[in-house]
């Protein structure tokens, strides 16, 4: 063999950079269409791959990064219209996020994908279930208000004790959230037409959410139910608020963080749906198979643990006197 074959030569020169524009175009078409050619290009890329190490680094103009930052959101959004929200995640970098929550949620979301769609169906634009990557415990209260209260009339406030990590066991009573039906909420101050409206409307029952996030800053729950419209604006998380004013550039991180919040919210929607199912199951067990319920799940025992004052146990009914006409 004294000559590279045509394809090999084209692949090598494509990588080397000696082709003119038509040949490059040709090579790119082949790259798309011909797997064998793509393999050749790849192997040449690998061979010359480290030659860049010998190029002297040059510090670029500091104005370049802001320009990239301003455009990166748009760059992702364009692909985002094809994929749900984020390209398939590779194995997460070790240590980047607390793995425990991830694992737990992965299991949970697997188990309850069907339920989640049911429970979150009130969200205006429900994005397809996306990989849940992180959950901040702060948004716990966020979720408790919405899906749980709407899905079933079950006594939600009692439940989290058994199913939910301790931090969430705040007895954020579902009834509080329900007084503001989600559908009535205005789309809130939208930044971006499509995505934002979905994202915003979801966490904007933040009557609860906002107060949870700004833990203790301004617990404004009392006025929330009475004036949902007014409340949703001033209570929007401060980060978001700050971004509404200067438009294009800083909006990017804001929207990203909204995406993240949406994911968190979804995770908790799933979680709460599970809780609801558990309660329903427990209620059904109490109703239909009380003898199979383990002792520690018996209604009286649960009430005692939750600190509900028990009414005095009525004395066991005495058998009716023999002459009674109302004997069963």
């Amino acid at each position: 063999m004294s000559e590279l074959d045509h394809m090999d030569g084209l692949a090598a020169e494509y990588v080397l950079g000696t082709l003119d524009s038509e040949e490059r175009e040709q090579a790119r078409i082949l790259l798309e269409a011909d797997a064998a050619f793509a393999t050749k290009v790849e192997s040449w890329e690998r061979r010359f791959g480290d030659l860049y190490l010998m190029v002297e680094p040059v510090e670029p103009d500091s104005a370049i990064w802001p320009r990239i930052k301003a455009k990166m959101l748009y760059a992702r959004e364009r692909t985002g219209t094809v994929e749900p929200s984020i390209p398939p995640p590779p194995p997460p970098p070790p240590g980047a996020e607390p793995p425990n929550l991830d694992a737990i949620e992965a299991v949970i979301s697997d188990a309850a994908t069907t339920l989640s769609s049911e429970a979150t169906s009130t969200a205006p634009e429900q994005a397809p279930p996306a990989p849940i990557s992180e959950v901040a415990p702060t948004s716990a209260a966020e979720a408790t208000s919405a899906p749980a209260s709407e899905a079933t009339p079950a006594p939600v406030s009692e439940v989290p004790v058994s199913e939910v990590p301790a931090s969430e066991a705040t007895p954020a009573p579902a009834s509080e959230g329900t007084s503001v039906p989600m559908t009535e909420l205005p789309p809130a101050p939208t930044l971006d037409a499509t995505r934002m409206s979905a994202v915003e409307a979801v966490p904007s029952p933040p009557i609860v959410a906002a107060s949870a996030e700004s833990a203790g800053q301004a617990p404004s729950e009392p006025r929330a139910p009475s004036e949902p419209q007014a409340a949703s604006e001033p209570q929007a998380p401060s980060e978001l608020q700050a971004r509404t004013e200067p438009p294009a550039q800083p909006a990017a991180p804001a929207i990203l963080s909204m995406h993240r919040r949406l994911r968190r919210w979804r995770a908790f929607a799933v979680l709460m749906a599970l809780v609801v199912v558990a309660v329903a199951a427990l209620l059904a067990a109490w109703r239909f198979a009380p003898d199979r319920v383990p002792a520690m799940l018996q209604p009286l025992e649960l009430m005692r643990q939750a600190g509900v004052p028990l009414p005095a146990i009525p004395a066991p009914r005495r058998p009716a006197p023999p002459e009674s006409r109302f004997d069963e």
């Binding site: 063999m1 004294s2 000559e3 590279l4 090999d8 030569g9 090598a12 020169e13 990588v15 080397l16 950079g17 000696t18 082709l19 003119d20 524009s21 490059r24 890329e45 690998r46 061979r47 791959g49 480290d50 030659l51 860049y52 190490l53 010998m54 190029v55 002297e56 680094p57 040059v58 510090e59 670029p60 103009d61 104005a63 370049i64 990064w65 320009r67 990239i68 930052k69 455009k71 990166m72 760059a75 992702r76 364009r78 692909t79 929200s85 984020i86 390209p87 398939p88 995640p89 590779p90 194995p91 997460p92 970098p93 070790p94 980047a96 990557s133 990017a252 991180p253 990203l256 995406h259």
Partner: protein, 180 residues
């Protein structure tokens, strides 16, 4: 300078949409990419535009990166290089006072600290070193400057057919040398 492992982590985070990781990735890698791009385009205004495109492409395609194929930086450099070559082939606005063409420097490779030399690179350099000196120079000029064959022929005062034949021969020899 971050290690390849760190850059791989950053890339993985970028693939998940982590904007902060992307900023760190930019900080860690942009001098290298800019050096490569600038070497090809020899104008800061053009190189800046290409660098921007390159990082946006990295941001979009980070999920496609396959660690089994290339080191993360080599993958990013390949993206930037191809964009730079395309830009170099496209008709460009003439250089202006404010964006002058950078004077030609030594076309050969720069110096690499010994510890940064990878085994692959050592092997490649050995193979390139076995080429005739003229063809060695042509190959490096082709890689670092991304000149097409016309430009190479003008620069080296060589007929274009000879340039083409020399390049192919060099590539074939490198192919054989690396396989052995």
């Amino acid at each position: 300078m971050s290690t390849p492992v760190e850059i791989t982590w950053l890339l993985a985070a970028v693939a998940k949409g982590d904007a902060l990781a992307f900023e760190r990735l930019y900080g860690a890698t942009c001098p290298k990419l800019y050096g490569v791009v600038l070497r090809i385009l020899r104008r800061h205004d053009l190189a800046a535009g290409v660098l921007e495109q390159a990082y946006l492409q990295v941001w979009r395609e980070a999920g496609d990166y396959d660690p089994a194929r290339l080191t993360p930086l080599a993958w990013m450099v390949a993206i930037a290089r191809h964009l730079a070559i395309d830009a170099a082939r496209a008709p460009q606005p003439p250089a202006t006072e404010s964006d002058p063409e950078i004077a030609e420097e030594d076309e050969g490779p720069g110096n690499v600290p010994r510890h940064e030399l990878t085994d692959d690179l050592k092997q490649l350099l050995t193979c390139i070193g076995r080429l005739e000196p003229d063809r060695q120079r042509m190959l490096l000029l082709a890689y670092y400057g991304a000149f097409n064959r016309d430009q190479l022929s003008a620069r080296l005062a060589m007929p274009i057919d000879l340039v083409r034949a020399s390049l192919r021969r060099s590539l074939l020899e490198i192919d054989g040398c690396l396989k052995s």
